[in-house]
């Protein structure tokens, strides 16, 4: 057993009468890729939103290492080392690719607020080189001066991944990174994610595409109706009768 990086204890979340999450307990080891799968409406996105601070849980506690995340703002949680990509890529559409990457790099270096209104962007050579390096990694370096909003969906996703990677997060959350992508874009994203995997950062990935899940995940948790019904290695989960019942409806993977 390695170090536990994310420790979720008894987390519940209800919206009015709807119990979206009930008593979630989850421990994620440092350096692993953990997939969360489950049918639509199982509470996967709600779970991510609780971790990143978009939603406050009704009950329970989330720890990152020995830091409490529960009750903190999204920007504070990011500063503690949690980065996230969204189902629809959230980038800065009006800025260039290079600037899109420089902004998270500044956040990592200078914290949640830094005044410096007279500092020159031009003089920030270190940050710029770092950003160019990451852009090269994800294969977008040729487009660095293009406006991000004009890129394809797949390229926006790569950009968003790069924006998170430059912060070198302790925990990286991916909410359906291949949602709405063409086969070609999906494959190139998987390839990119596999390369990221080698960096050894801890990741939680929510995904519908089983091809993606089984090619990336070390462990899988299955959520159904707000509760974890199974957890284990891909092999174990694949063969779990409860999972087949709840999620796959008898269909084989």
């Amino acid at each position: 057993m390695g170090n536990v990086i994310l420790d979720v204890t008894d987390v519940s979340k209800s919206f009015g009468g709807l119990q979206a999450l009930s008593n979630i307990n989850l421990r994620i080891e440092e350096g692993t890729v953990h997939a969360i799968i489950g049918p639509n409406g199982a509470g996967k996105s709600t779970f991510l939103n609780v971790i990143v601070g978009r939603l406050a849980p009704s009950r329970g506690r989330v720890l990152l290492g020995d830091q409490v995340l529960t009750g903190k703002q999204p920007h504070e949680i990011n500063q503690l080392g949690v980065a996230r990509v969204f189902q629809t890529p959230e980038i800065f559409p009006d800025l260039t690719l290079l600037q899109n990457i420089m902004i998270p790099a500044f956040a990592k270096r200078d914290g949640q607020f830094s005044f410096g209104i007279f500092k020159s962007l031009f003089a920030e050579r270190g940050i710029r080189e770092e950003a160019e390096h990451i852009l090269e990694d994800v294969g977008l370096i040729a487009d660095r001066n293009k406006i991000a909003g004009s890129m394809s969906r797949g390229d926006k996703r790569r950009l968003e991944l790069a924006m998170c990677l430059i912060q070198d997060p302790k925990l990286f959350l991916l909410d359906e990174p291949t949602a709405g992508m063409s086969r070609h874009d999906t494959n190139s994203t998987i390839e990119l994610l596999q390369r990221i995997k080698e960096r050894g950062m801890t990741k939680i990935i929510i995904e519908h595409d089983m091809h993606v899940v089984f090619s990336l995940a070390d462990r899988i948790s299955v959520l159904a109706q707000g509760a974890i019904i199974a957890e284990g290695t891909p092999e174990e989960v694949r063969n779990d009768p409860k999972v087949k019942e709840a999620y796959l409806g008898g269909e084989t993977l």
Binding site: N78, E90, F92, A107, I117, K119, I147
Partner: protein
């Protein structure tokens, strides 16, 4: 240069040199336009400063404030009080006006920035209208109500008296260490301050801070998931733009030492929004361009009246002359804002990025045509969408 690219120090220098040259030679090149008289040029400068500052908030962060005239008013009142109590020298007036406007901006911004979008705009509008009404009611001891705050020969002017300067005949003049605050010297004082103000805005535009403000405008959600607390950024931008407004207000008081509450009315706030959008919000020189053009047109068209129109069309037959005069006269003189409204509508519909967008489109067209002539086969369309 595209605004979204990272500017080099050389480009910044070029900007400053060109702007300084254009501004300082205004009395020469405005001559043929009939606009080279000090009053109007001072207005170009003062409202230019106002718009440059407003652009730091609205152009970079996209937060549309409808209350910036309140800071202009605060600046004017403070400056006149400084003239009355301390000295006719403009230095203390400018410093106090800028600082006090900044303090006001901090208070109003602190409350208004709890909301975004239309709610933010409404909050700022409410605050500005409140200040306007207060200036006419409970604050009359400070603002002198409808008469407006004026200089008086018997004012204390502590510093001036200590220096042995006594106003013997008539009202004293505002000055910068002896240099008159009115007329051509007044214009040059304003011009130098405008150049400095532009320099500060240039540095903000090209700093990491400015880039983060743009990022807030572009996607505030991503900003917070990227680890930024956006509120202090917005508040800083709000305060800076408020200080610019205060500075502009103090210069208004310098050129004409009388402060009235009408400067704080919402129409005055609307005017700066108009000038910024007209020229191109978020661009460096757009707001200056918008200010210049709007103030120039205002100057021309508000002076028109039926007699002038009749004379203009005197070469036409009488009946046609009368019809034309009748059609045009509602749009000039008092009604010139009707004309402004129409022009503004056209700009927003066809060139939402303002005149600078128009400039960008035209220069791109010319460039592409030029490229086509050189190399007919190349169909590369690798242009960026940014503006100057």
């Amino acid at each position: 240069m595209s605004n979204t690219q990272i500017a080099t120090p050389r480009q910044e220098l070029l900007y400053m040199v060109v702007l300084s040259a254009v501004v300082l030679t205004m009395p020469l090149w405005l001559q043929p336009f009939g606009a080279a008289y000090p009053d109007l040029m001072q207005k170009f400068m003062i409202f230019g400063i106002f718009a440059i500052g407003y652009n730091i908030l609205f152009g970079l962060t996209g937060y549309l404030s409808f209350g910036h005239a309140a800071f202009l008013g605060v600046g004017s009142y403070t400056a006149v009080w400084s003239f009355k109590l301390l000295s006719m020298n403009v230095v203390p007036a400018i410093i106090f006006a800028t600082l006090l406007a900044g303090l006001f901006a901090w208070l109003i911004g602190f409350v208004s920035l709890r909301r975004s979008g239309i709610y933010f705009s409404i909050l700022t509008l409410a605050f500005a209208q409140m200040s306007y009404n207060l200036a006419y009611s409970v604050l009359t001891p400070i603002t002198n109500g409808e008469t407006g705050l004026q200089l008086n020969q018997a004012d204390p002017r502590v510093i001036d008296r200590m220096a042995g300067i006594e106003a013997t005949s008539g009202l004293p003049n505002t000055n910068l260490f002896g240099l008159q605050g009115t007329g051509y010297s007044g214009f040059y004082i304003c011009a130098v301050i405008l150049i400095l103000a532009f320099f500060v805005s240039l540095r903000i535009f090209h700093s990491p801070f400015g880039m983060k403000l743009r990022a807030i405008k572009s996607n505030q959600t991503r900003m917070s998931y990227t680890g930024y607390n956006t509120r202090p950024y917005l508040l800083t931008a709000f305060i800076i733009s408020g200080m610019y407004a205060g500075l502009a207000g103090s210069l208004l008081a310098m050129t004409d030492p009388l402060a009235g509450a009408e400067r704080m009315q919402w129409t005055a706030s609307g005017e700066v929004v108009l000038m910024t959008i007209f020229g191109g919000a978020g661009t460096l020189i757009g707001p200056l361009l918008g200010t210049g053009i709007i103030k120039y047109l205002e100057n021309i068209f508000s002076a028109f009246n039926d007699t002038v129109l009749h004379n203009m069309f005197s070469f036409l037959p009488d009946w046609l002359n009368n019809i034309l005069t009748a059609i045009i006269s509602p749009f000039v003189g008092e009604g010139w804002q009707l004309l402004l409204g129409i022009v503004f509508m056209l700009i927003v519909i066809f060139l939402p990025g303002g005149l600078m967008e128009g400039y960008g489109k035209v220069s791109r067209m010319i460039r592409e045509r030029g490229q086509k002539n050189v190399d007919d086969g190349s169909s590369d369309k690798q242009h960026s969408t940014g503006e100057v």
